[in-house]
Structures are given as structure tokens and as C-alpha cells.
């Protein structure tokens, strides 16, 4: 119960602070391009934030900067009040493709991040089993990634990042390549797991419905220069029903605001 107390005291505390971050890239064809410009964003503890924008707008770049895969050209990023320099081991990362380690079984993949935590064996196994069950992968513990379907490896990839309980989980369009049905099922499962664990999630997507359906807040990024256009609160109640998300109170309003921004961006007439 002590854990709950700590969590409440952490609530409304930013875990990630992005302070005026810009990122420039040099490309052979176009010279210097600005992928991100003056991004300022706080992500609170336990929050589910989605980042939405057209492809190539720099939303994945933002995740890579938070993970410390590359450094910002200017500005800085704090994670739990410490500046990110080099790889940020406080975050978990779910890449676009599942990127499970193909030589490890599902079980070994999910437990991979737990090793550096030096849990006792029993706790480790319990943790792995719990997440495998949550993701509906029970019975597939000994399977290799090559033997799994696309949806299953996606699930495994997500719980691999969740299982070792990093402070923040970054997800880079994880459901992008999946078909519409599998996508919905996985969104539903992700929300269910999240509601139990309440880990902080930053979720990048280009799908507006997905962005609204999952998020507490939607960060809208525009195309070149990548700037934050707006941050939309989604006051929909939880738990949410993904399969009937359109009928839930608050969806239309949030989606409407989002669509207005994008309609403008895409130059599809205004009225």
C-alpha cells in the first residue's frame, strides 16, 4: 500500500520535461531541415499522452530524443528531473516493428529487461508470467518470435517494455502495420493493461481516432517545421470501450477539435 501513497504524491508531477527542444537534420538533397522546433511539453506521472501528426513531422524524432538515441540540437529534456544525456534507461521503448529478439523465446524476451533489476528468481518469474497472462500470451511462453502472428509479436513487444516497469514507456506507432480488427483488439488490451498498471505512456500515432481513443491528452505536431500546434485534453471517462468509442461522451468534441486542426493543415477548405 505504501506504493499507492508514493504514486499519489507523484501525481501531477512531470516525469518528462521537454524544454524548448529543436532538432535539425542535414540531408544531402535539402540541406539543413528542422525536424522539431521549439518543443515544450510536460508529461505527468501516470498520464497517457498521444502524439499525433502527419508522417515525417518529427513525432518519432521526439520519442528518439526522449529515449536518448540522439541528442537535441538545442534545448534539453529532463526525465525525473535529470537531464537526458546518452541513452535514457528510465524509459522503455516499443518500436514500430516488434523487434523482439528472434533468438529468445517469448518468455525470455519479456523477462529480458528484468535481469538488470536483480529481482529474486521467484519475483522475476511471477512478473513475467503476470504480463504474459495480461497480454493473452499464456501457452506461448516457449515460442520463438518467428512462430508468432503479427498481433502476438506486437503484444509480446509491448509487455517486454512494460514488464520491467520503466518510469515512462515510449511507443512509436506500434499498431501501424496491423489490420483494423487486430488494431482495435490490441488498443483495447493496451488500455486494460494500462488501467491496471497506470504506467506513464507516450504513444506516437498518425491515426486521429486512435490518438483520441487512448489518450488523456493529445499533442498535435505539425509538418515542417515540427511544432506543437495544440494540446487537446480528452475528458472521456475510463475505462473506455474502444469498440464503441464514437458513442462515448467527449469523443466527438475532442475528435472535432483535432480534425479542425488537420483540415486546416491539409488545406481541405474551411467554413
Amino acid at each position: 500500500m505504501a506504493k499507492t501513497a508514493i504514486q499519489t504524491s507523484q501525481e501531477n508531477q512531470p516525469v518528462i520535461q521537454v524544454e524548448n527542444v529543436s532538432k535539425l537534420f542535414r540531408t544531402p538533397s535539402e540541406g539543413l531541415i528542422s525536424a522539431l522546433q521549439d518543443i515544450a511539453l510536460n508529461i505527468l506521472h501516470g498520464e497517457f499522452v498521444t502524439v499525433v501528426g502527419p508522417s515525417g513531422c518529427g513525432k518519432s524524432t521526439l520519442l528518439k530524443l526522449i529515449a536518448g538515441f540522439s541528442a537535441p540540437s538545442s534545448g534539453r529534456i529532463l526525465c525525473q528531473n535529470e537531464e537526458v544525456r546518452g541513452l535514457n534507461t528510465k524509459v522503455g521503448y516499443v518500436p514500430q516493428e516488434s523487434k523482439l529478439f528472434p533468438w529468445l523465446t517469448v518468455e525470455e524476451n519479456v523477462g529480458f529487461g528484468l535481469d538488470s533489476k536483480r529481482y529474486p528468481r521467484e519475483k522475476r518469474e511471477h512478473q513475467v508470467q503476470q504480463f504474459i497472462k495480461l497480454a493473452g500470451l499464456a501457452g506461448f511462453e516457449k515460442y520463438y518470435p518467428a512462430q508468432l502472428s503479427g498481433g502476438m509479436s506486437k503484444r509480446a513487444s509491448i509487455i517486454r517494455a512494460l514488464a520491467y516497469e520503466p518510469a515512462v514507456i515510449l511507443m512509436d506507432e506500434p499498431f501501424g502495420p496491423l489490420d483494423a480488427q487486430t488494431r482495435m483488439v490490441l488498443q483495447d488490451e493496451l488500455l486494460k493493461i494500462w488501467e491496471q498498471k497506470r504506467q506513464t505512456i507516450v504513444f506516437v500515432t498518425h491515426d486521429l481516432v486512435e490518438a483520441v481513443a487512448l489518450a488523456d491528452r493529445v499533442v498535435v505536431i505539425t509538418h515542417r517545421p515540427g511544432q506543437i500546434k495544440d494540446i487537446i485534453n480528452v475528458p472521456m471517462k475510463r475505462p473506455r470501450n474502444i469498440f464503441e468509442i464514437h458513442r462515448q461522451e467527449g469523443f466527438d468534441e475532442a475528435y472535432g477539435r483535432l480534425w479542425k486542426i488537420f483540415r486546416h493543415e491539409l488545406n481541405i477548405g474551411t467554413h
Partner: protein
């Protein structure tokens, strides 16, 4: 080899659909036919050889299957051939693993350190340009006519193939696996053995398996240059006194050596790479 192919096909078949599994049955019938035809060809060739020898061609030029067989038996019963085989085996048993492991280790190291690779890569490529068997006489000068000069040649031939394959693997490897593992707090030995080596293992095994015949070549070339025992010595000596049957006996022994080593390596590879759905055949020439 055809067994491998049909096994692979049937494995792929179970994964995709029933229609392919059925054709897998047809395939094994086909495989059976192929085996029969192959044995007929080999048998016919041996028979022709036996007939030709002494009738159309002098036996001291081509010997004959029956003569070779009896030489093989006397060679082994007298213990002479066993001693030669043992010597060659020792040379390979030391030179091959040492060469393979140091080649893999250096390939790994170069892959990890950009600076090291930048400095040494041109040097290694230049050294690789040397026809390595031409160095065998030098090894005799340096290490004497005993075991160690041959170990040196075996090492040299094994080392480069393993180095180049491993290094290629390091460059082709998906960096994202390393990044992800690092992000999960995994580094050092665990990163090496749980992430990087498994990721490049298909390349490493290609290196090991392509270097097996070269290890044997190394030992034989060393023995050809200067030796007092070993299968290479036995072949050269037998040819010198026109005991052609014994030359073939030596060749058969070497052939068996290569096949046995390759089978062992194949077994290990299958086990180590069982996570792959199908074997990707990577061929890299050094």
C-alpha cells in the same frame, strides 16, 4: 544435401498450408528417386573405373577401386595410416578452433570499435590479398617441420574466413537490437552473449563451415612442403613411388575428415539457430 532441402520445404509447408504439406509427400518420393539415381551413377562410375584399370589404362596411373579398398584395409590394420591420420587430426584440432575463435573475436571487436576498424581494415584486406598457402614454407622456416608449422598454416586459413564473416555480420546487424538492449539496461558480457553474438550467429556459422575444408587444405599443404608424417606426407610419398592406390586412400581419409567435421558443425548450427524459421543461406567470400 537433398535431404536438407526436402526437410526445409516440409518445415515451411507446415507453417503455410495443407496443400504444401501434400506436395511435401510427393517431394520425399521425388527425393527417394534422386537418391537411387545418384547411387546408380556412383556405382556405374566405380564399375567403369574397375574395368578400365589394367585393360585400357595402366593401374599405376589410376589404380582401381578394389586396389584402393585393399590398401585402405592394410593401411589401417598395419596402424601406419592411423598414425598419419592422427597427426593430421592433431594439426587441425589445434589450428582450427584457435583460428576460428580468434577470427570471430577479432571480427566482433572490429565491429564494436569504429576506430579499430578504421585503422586496421585496409591492413587486413591487404593481408587477405596474399595467397595464404604461399606462406606455408615460411611457417616451416619459423616453426620447424613438426606439428606447429602445420598448426600455423591451418590457423592462418581458418582465421581470415572467420574474421571476414563475423565482421560482415557485425556490419549487417540490426543496430536497433543493441539500442533496445542498452535501453533495458543490458550491457557488457550480457550484451555480447545474449544479443550481439546471437544476432550475428548466422554469419559466424557460415564462417565456421566454409573454413572447415580450408583447415584441411592448410594441414595438407604444410605437410606437402616439409614433414615426416601426416596424411599429406603419406600422399606425397606414395605418389613419389607410384603407389597410386595409397594416394587415393589418403584422399579418401581427408574427404571423410571434412565430411565428419562439417556434419558436426551442421548439427551445432541447427541447434544454435533453431529460432530461425528457415535457414537463410548467407554466402560470403573472403
Amino acid at each position: 544435401m537433398s535431404k536438407n532441402i526436402s526437410e526445409e520445404n516440409s518445415r515451411a509447408g507446415t507453417a503455410s498450408d495443407a496443400a504444401v504439406v501434400q506436395s511435401g509427400g510427393v517431394l520425399s518420393m521425388h527425393g527417394f528417386g534422386v537418391t537411387i539415381i545418384r547411387f546408380v551413377i556412383i556405382g556405374g562410375f566405380l564399375l567403369l573405373w574397375e574395368i578400365a584399370s589394367g585393360r585400357w589404362i595402366e593401374p599405376f596411373l589410376i589404380s582401381s577401386p578394389s586396389r584402393i579398398l585393399s590398401s585402405l584395409v592394410t593401411g589401417f590394420t598395419s596402424g601406419d595410416l592411423i598414425q598419419h591420420t592422427w597427426v593430421t587430426f592433431q594439426e587441425i584440432a589445434i589450428g582450427f578452433p584457435v583460428g576460428a575463435i580468434s577470427g570471430i573475436a577479432l571480427g566482433y571487436w572490429f565491429g564494436r570499435s569504429r576506430l579499430l576498424a578504421e585503422i586496421f581494415e585496409p591492413i587486413i584486406i591487404a593481408l587477405n590479398g596474399i595467397p595464404r598457402t604461399a606462406l606455408a614454407p615460411l611457417f616451416i622456416v619459423w616453426l620447424g617441420i613438426g606439428l606447429w608449422s602445420k598448426v600455423g598454416v591451418v590457423f592462418l586459413l581458418t582465421f581470415f574466413l572467420n574474421f571476414f564473416n563475423t565482421y560482415t555480420g557485425m556490419r549487417q546487424m540490426d543496430r536497433e537490437y543493441v539500442d533496445l538492449a542498452n535501453l533495458m539496461g543490458v550491457k557488457g558480457w550480457k550484451l555480447t552473449f545474449k544479443v550481439i553474438l546471437p544476432a550475428i550467429s548466422p554469419y559466424v556459422f557460415t564462417g565456421i563451415r566454409t573454413s572447415i575444408p580450408f583447415a584441411v587444405i592448410g594441414a595438407i599443404v604444410g605437410e606437402f612442403v616439409a614433414a615426416t608424417e601426416g596424411v599429406g606426407f603419406f600422399i606425397r610419398m606414395s605418389a613419389g613411388i607410384f603407389k597410386t592406390a595409397d594416394v587415393f586412400v589418403g584422399i579418401i581419409v581427408l574427404m571423410i575428415m571434412v565430411i565428419v567435421m562439417d556434419k558436426i558443425a551442421e548439427r551445432i548450427e541447427r541447434r544454435a539457430l533453431r529460432w530461425q524459421t528457415q535457414t537463410e543461406h548467407i554466402q560470403i567470400q573472403a
